[in-house]
Structures are given as structure tokens and as C-alpha cells.
Amino acid sequence: MEYNIVIGLETHAELNTDTKLFCGCSTSFGSEPNTQTCPICLGLPGVLPVINRKAFDHTLKTALALNCEINDFVNFDRKNYYYPDLPKNYQISQNHFNVGNNGSVDIIVKGEKKRIGINNVHLEEDAGKLVHPEASDAGHSLIDFNRAGVPLVEIVTNPDLRSIDDVQGYMHTLRNILQYINVSDCKMQEGSLRFEASISLCRKGAKVFGNRVEIKNLNSMKAVMKVLAYEISRQKELLDKGAQIVMETRLWDEVDGVSRRMRTKEEAHDYRYFPEPDLVPILVDKKSIDRIRETIPELSAMRRQRFTSEYLISDYEAGILTESKPLADYFEECVKLTIVSPKELSNWIINDVLRVLNEKKSHIQDFTISPKMLVDLIEMKSEIGGSIAKEVFSEMSNTGKDASSIVREKNLTPLSNAEELNFIISKIIEDNPKAIEDYGKGKKSALSFLVGQTMKITKGKANPKILIDIFREKLENNL
């Protein structure tokens, strides 16, 4: 049977602040357990949380970038539940007056633009991390509260996603926006981007949707894709048999590749939200909205379009270059520095720079070759030849030296004393009529012989690759 699919997604992104949401403890990842805690983030009695301004501004920035209406009155609420990773037995979140509501994000799915509604954008604190000892007979669990109180922005879509492709397009676009506006690193392996999905199916043509299933603990985009594929087939199978879908919360089991009904925790979704009495409300005026709006850069979709029209590169290339903001910035920095065509710069960046970064598993921000250095090299290309330029490039990426010092050190400047070299070459051509004749007959080895002779006379100072080019040109044009 054919079914319509309705999916909604909640995304938690860790904001890239130095300190937690309500205290000055560090948010850095990978420290010894419980070394980044204090009475505030441990929820000891008598403490007073105070909001981190940067975390709030980042949330506002996110809401604006996602085209939300910004509430002029914003407050925090207590979300009450008992779980050991939550030291206060409540999470400070927002329920009544979120930072932003009614936003949207445009995604491209199979070449077509689609608008996904954003229900709300709000700010909340993360919980601690539970560690379950591997031994199954261990009678205890362990808790690390370093993550407790780390600021998260939560982005909730309307149930507008209709397929797994939609979900993928949305997650990709959202991550791209969060990185562009520099509010989150979105590092999956550090859990700084996490998802919860809700999905329901209904028979095509039917008016009422089936029961909603929520899936929690999705720590990567891959997990979201896998669990939704699994859920769709699980629910289809049940519906085909005429069974009902139970409204429930399920957990994704990465190892077994199945979703399972969640047995404990919040069977009752009774969070008894109420306004957080320890925090005062925030009034957001037009001035602060304008101040934050000014910090939002041109986003990738716009930039991609502009790159094709302004720099005459293909949409495909523009797509690669604008995938990350630092890369797009790098490209535009190069464009500004030179009269070399943007198309050629784009070729270098896509073919060479990205290849090296890939090999080194590194990022453009940490790249040894600055835009100025790359441009200098490309401008030298006509002098030193394409293949040498590539060689110099790889040397540059390994050593961080600039092109001209490498060319100098390695004696790659045959044309800096071009007259001398020309003279030597002419002489060699004159002295070796046999080799010239052989080359004319198609004997390629004659070329190596001539190059070898030149190397001998120049004591190895000439670059063989360039010599080949020169000889070829001279011989083929009978110069």
C-alpha cells in the first residue's frame, strides 16, 4: 500500500561559547570527568544562575537566520523531570516565550526548492553524561556533569518534511546555516549536533494521520536517516497488516540498527513547566535585533547564486566553494588579490587545495597556504610552467614556505636566466643533429637524451620538466 509520510525534526546544536549557560565553567570537550563543574551547574541549593550574553545573542542570531519572528518578551521555564543526568531535577529551558517563532528555511531537494516551517527556536541547557559500565552485572551507572549547563539552541520544525530526502536536505542546510553564522561548530563526533524525530504515516487519500512515534538520542545525521528508513518500513509493515501504530517514544540502537520502545524515563510527558523564578525575563528591542542582524553574513544559498553570476563559475563549482564559509571567504580573498580569472582560482581551490585538505584531514582555516601565497604561485605559473607549479604547490602545502623561496631554493627558475638557457639549448640542438633527426622520426628517447645533455652542461640547475617543454616547442616548430 502507498503511504504519505510526515516527519518533524528537533535539532539541538551546542553553541560555541567559552562558558556554560548560567556559570563560568568551561565548555571545552574531552576534559577529565567532573572537572568543569561548580555549585551552579550542579544545582546546589542557594545558587543563582545568570544568563550568558553570548549564548543568548547566538540564539537570537539563529532565530533571525531562520527567518523567525522575534518575541519582544522572552523568558525561561523549568522543565521538571527526574533523571540522574539532570542535577537539579529540572532543566532550564523555554516553553512559553521562546526567542523566535514561525520561521522557515528553504531547502533544495532533487533540484526543487521547498520551504520548511520552523515552529520555534529556543535556548536551553544540556544535561550531564551518563556512563554505563560495560559489565552487565555492574549495579551502578556513572555520571560526568561537565556537559551539564552547556548552552544548546533547539530548533523545532513544523511537520513539513515528507520524505527522507527532505530530512537530509533540511539537516544539511541547517548545519550549513549554523556554521555560516558561526554559532555552533556542529561537530558530530563531539555530540554538538543531536536530533529527535517524530514520524507518522497514513494511507494515501486518508484524511487522518496515524499515531506519531518519537525517536530520541539521534547523535548524527546518519543515525537520523537510518532510523527513519527503519521506522518507515516498520510502520508500513504494521499498517499493511491492518495493525495500529502505538504512540510511543523509541530509541535508536546504533549497533543492532533497530529502534526500540523506550521503557523508562518520562513515560508520562508531564514536565510541569513553570517560569524559572531564578532568572529575570529578557526584553528584546528593535535595537538589539538590528545589532544581531548586522552580524549575519550572506548565507550560502545566496552566495552560491552570486558566485555564478559575479565570477562566471558553474553552479556546481559555486556549490563546492560555498559549502563552508571559510572556504568561500578564502576563494573571494584570492579573487580580490589578483587579476587571474576567478575560474582558474576556482579550479586550483577545488582540485588542489581541497585535495590536500582532504588528504591531511584538515580545514581551510588551518591551511598552510594563505590566499596571498596561492595567488602568488598561480601568477608565477606562466613563468615556471604548469607541472612545476603543481610541484611547488605541494611543497608549499608541506612546508608553509612561499612559492618564490621554493622556486629559488630548488633552482626552478630556468627563465630567470632565460637567455643563458636559450643559448645552451640552441647549442645542444646544433651539436646533436642525429638526435634531432631521431626525434623527427618519432623517437621519443631522443628528447631524454637532449634533456640529459642540457642537465650535464647546466650541472643539474635546469629543471628537466621545463627543458622537455622547451625542447618540444623548439623542435616541433623547427626553431
Binding site: V131, S141, L142, I282
Partner: protein
């Protein structure tokens, strides 16, 4: 005014407290008294009164994103009932 006994069960469960039957009756009666007391507010006409969430006039209180030293771990762990290897230790959580 009365409270459904199941409501008492639910509140006890959410609060993670065990009540015996006598206590259930006792607390139910106390809750009824409280609710009846608060219900007096319904006698007032508040159609033109805006809801208030905060009684303090303070607003927009922020701190800058500046690191402060965290507490020494041993001080924090030592006030907990149980800890091991730098972690807080709690009864096993089944998922």
C-alpha cells in the same frame, strides 16, 4: 471540591515518593484545602488584568562569556553519597 485519588498517585510518582494508603488520604485532604484556598481567586474579576510572570522589576540581566575557575573536583565529589574514578556513582539506570 475533591481530587481524584489517581491524581495523588500520579503526583507521588512524578515526585518519586512512596505514599502508603493512610498518607494518600492525609495528603489528598491537605491538597484539597490548599486548592480551595487558592480557588478564592476565582471570585475576582480579572478580565482586564494582564498575567504577571515575575514580581521583580529586574530584566535583561546577563553575564559576559568569561571563564571562571570551576570547583576542585574532590570537593564536589566528596559531598556526594558515592563516587568512583572522578565520576558520580548512582544506582544502575536501565534504558
Amino acid at each position: 471540591m475533591d481530587i481524584d485519588p489517581r491524581e495523588i498517585d500520579n503526583i507521588a510518582k512524578l515526585s518519586r515518593i512512596k505514599l502508603d494508603d493512610a498518607e494518600k488520604v492525609k495528603f489528598k485532604n491537605q491538597l484539597v484545602h490548599i486548592l480551595e484556598y487558592v480557588e478564592k481567586l476565582n471570585e475576582l474579576n480579572i478580565n482586564n488584568v494582564k498575567p504577571i510572570f515575575y514580581t521583580s522589576p529586574l530584566k535583561n540581566v546577563f553575564r559576559e562569556d568569561t571563564l571562571k575557575p570551576s570547583f576542585h573536583r574532590s570537593n564536589i565529589l566528596n559531598i556526594s553519597p558515592s563516587h568512583v574514578n572522578g565520576f558520580f556513582k548512582v544506582p544502575k539506570i536501565i534504558e
